[in-house]
């Protein structure tokens, strides 16, 4: 009796897992399968007949291709570099320098992070960028992304740096290294896993964003992919499903590659060496 009850429990558990997996997995499966299907469909099905025509058509759309390989890259890589660099340096300073009130500062930072990129801030952001003369430039978009992502990035990085014992750096100082050398030789390699997390996160945020470039950019040749995807809609506003799916798949690939690369090269882990 108890055994049956146990089996039923197991079964219920696996059914629950299956449902959750299907909920998250099916859209992904649809995204992978539909671009190879000649027939437009919203169902998940084996492509029938199988075709690469959709990709052919997408690649012929120079506006959409430029959006992806040029505009999106410039914006996302720019935001990624800016956020990672500034967040690392400021988090390091906030964690290691004895500045009175630095912990309050970091808590104010999180507060700000939810405000700056929120929809409510769009008008002031537009006005600032307009007055800076950066409307319709990559730089304007990148600066807004950096400003918006930085507070959260600093906050996460500071926590990460805080988790690294100071004795690593202190032992390098005593060994005879100048502070800049200590940062490069010892601190930087130790916080690199944290930097990788911030880099990927900020890249993904900028890569997938719609609202900010939509507001700050004018010229079609600077629009990123999130906006260019509308070129696969008909005049009447109905999407060409197979083309949208093919373009979306191409749109998703760089993020996946970036993740795999970082995981292979650095790994999202922290190699301990301090005896606790």
């Amino acid at each position: 009796m108890k055994r049956i009850k146990h089996l039923l429990g197991e079964a219920a558990y696996y059914i629950f897992i299956l449902v959750v997996m299907a909920f998250f997995g099916l859209p992904l499966l649809w995204l992978v399968l539909t671009p190879f299907n000649a027939r437009a469909t919203l169902a998940v099905e084996i492509p029938q007949p199988f075709t690469l025509d959709n990709f052919q058509q997408v690649l012929n759309n120079t506006f959409a291709v430029r959006a992806l390989v040029q505009n999106n890259m410039i914006i996302a890589v720019g935001a990624m570099l800016g956020v990672t660099l500034i967040a690392t340096l400021s988090a390091y300073a906030l964690s290691r320098a004895r500045v009175p009130g630095s912990s309050q500062l970091t808590y104010i930072l999180i507060l700000f992070s939810s405000v700056v990129t929120g929809t409510a801030a769009m008008v002031p952001i537009f006005l600032i960028i307009f007055n800076l003369g950066l409307i319709d430039t990559y730089l304007g978009v990148i600066v807004v992304f950096i400003g918006g992502l930085l507070p959260a990035a600093i906050f996460i990085m500071r926590d990460f740096v805080e988790g690294i014992p100071r004795s690593y750096e202190e032992s390098a100082l005593v060994a005879g290294a100048a502070p800049s050398r200590v940062f490069l030789d010892v601190a930087l390699p130790l916080i690199r896993p944290g930097m990788m997390v911030i880099a990927i996160w900020s890249f993904v945020q900028a890569w997938g964003s719609f609202l900010i470039p939509f507001i700050l950019l004018r010229s079609p040749e600077r629009m990123p992919a999130s906006i260019a995807v509308y070129s696969f809609y008909t005049e009447a506003g109905t999407p060409n499903i197979t083309l949208v799916a093919a373009y979306s798949l191409l749109y998703a690939i760089p993020v996946v590659i970036l993740y795999l690369f970082v995981n292979w090269r650095y790994g999202f882990r922290f190699f301990g060496g301090i005896k606790r």
Partner: protein
């Protein structure tokens, strides 16, 4: 090589005086231990010598140089941290060679010197491993190797053995002392383990709440603790401390209704002086200076056997006298056979008397 002088060195964290006017002379080439309970300011003192902590007041001299305001790298010191702080992203060769690398020593010479240092510590076969792939004892040796590799003027150790198990600790104690004698570098060693300090050091300083309360060769401090704090800190088990009252007329001390004659006590005059104000004293006697007997003996205290601990070459008998434990050390090969009521006679040449607030009287 050079000695170290601390002159009224203080460190305040806000309103807390972590180190309070510490004055110390550490001789060239000696092994010096800073000993004290947790939070007494040992680490802070050491970190000020290293330059990792800024002194609030006072001066630090290494050799003839006043280094009080110098950066760590200008002090020519080496330090072993309690957690070893081996860089996890470098192998042992690069870890041990790091002090040489920052000094711009060419790679070939660096490798040779690292290998020499590693050989002297028996870890030269591990040089291409990362710290995470080493045992605790090997990591500890690697940290020491990194400290000796660049021939610094001063070695600083902050509880370098506290992460090792008891057996490794005794072993590491041996090689640290041997190594220090070999290289002859002035060494400051922080520990809260009195046995470690006694075993290693030429001189020890005992700290209490940021102040040095006594300094001297270990045996001198052990045999003549200047306060009850020092007495109760050194030795395992530490000195027995018993409250008593002086009786000047009878020339004796009463401890728990037992009266012990002080006819032959060396410091009677000072006790008389003390007793003019206050007849209360604390009597201190080391466990090895008590004689125990199953029958009544003259000049003795009496109590009940509480526990017997055979330790091999010696044994401890814990006797309860009016609820207070008193330890007796016996150097016998057999388990001592005591039970019930016993009598303890102190060796009057080895007894100390302290003021109730801790100061040594005689």
């Amino acid at each position: 090589m050079s000695g170290i002088q601390l002159d009224r060195l203080s460190k305040h964290f806000g309103s807390v005086a972590a180190v309070d006017e510490v004055t110390l002379q550490i001789q060239d080439g000696e092994f010096f231990a800073l000993l004290g309970p947790s939070g007494c300011g040992k680490t802070t003192t050491l970190r000020m010598i290293a330059g990792l902590e800024k002194a609030t007041a006072g001066t630090i001299k290494i050799g003839d140089r006043d280094v009080t305001t110098l950066a760590p790298r200008e002090r020519d010191i080496a330090m072993v941290f309690q957690d070893y702080a081996l860089y996890p992203h470098m192998n042992l060769l690069d870890n041990i060679g790091y002090p040489l690398k920052v000094r711009g020593i060419p790679r070939a010479e660096l490798q040779q010197r690292v290998t020499e240092a590693a050989q002297s510590l028996g870890i030269d076969h591990l040089l291409n491993r990362r710290p995470a792939q080493l045992s605790g004892g090997q990591q500890q040796r690697a940290a020491v190797a990194r400290a000796i590799v660049h021939h610094a003027q001063v070695f600083l150790f902050d509880e370098p053995l506290s992460n090792l198990d008891a057996k490794l600790r005794v072993e590491a104690r041996g090689f640290l002392k041997h190594l220090q004698r070999q290289v002859g570098v002035t060494t400051v060693y922080v520990t809260h383990d009195q046995a470690e300090a006694m075993a290693l050091a030429d001189h020890i300083a005992i700290m209490e709440q940021g102040k040095v309360v006594q300094m001297g060769p270990p045996l001198e401090v052990y045999h003549r603790p200047r306060t009850t704090f020092v007495a109760s800190f050194l030795g395992s088990p530490p000195m027995n401390l018993l409250r008593g009252q002086l009786d000047l007329a009878a020339r004796q001390v009463r401890v728990n209704n037992a009266a012990i004659s002080l006819e032959q006590f060396r410091g009677w005059d000072r006790l008389v002086e003390h007793a003019q104000q206050n007849v209360n004293v604390v009597m201190g006697i080391r466990p090895e200076h008590l004689t125990i007997a199953q029958h009544e003996i003259p000049q003795s205290l009496t109590g009940e056997v509480y526990a017997i601990q055979p330790l091999g070459a010696e044994s401890l008998v814990i006797v309860q006298i009016k609820g207070e434990p008193v330890s007796v050390r016996l150097f016998t090969d057999d388990t001592p056979q005591f039970s019930g009521r016993v009598w303890l006679a102190p060796d009057l040449q080895r007894v100390f008397f302290y003021h109730p607030d801790g100061e040594l009287i005689a």
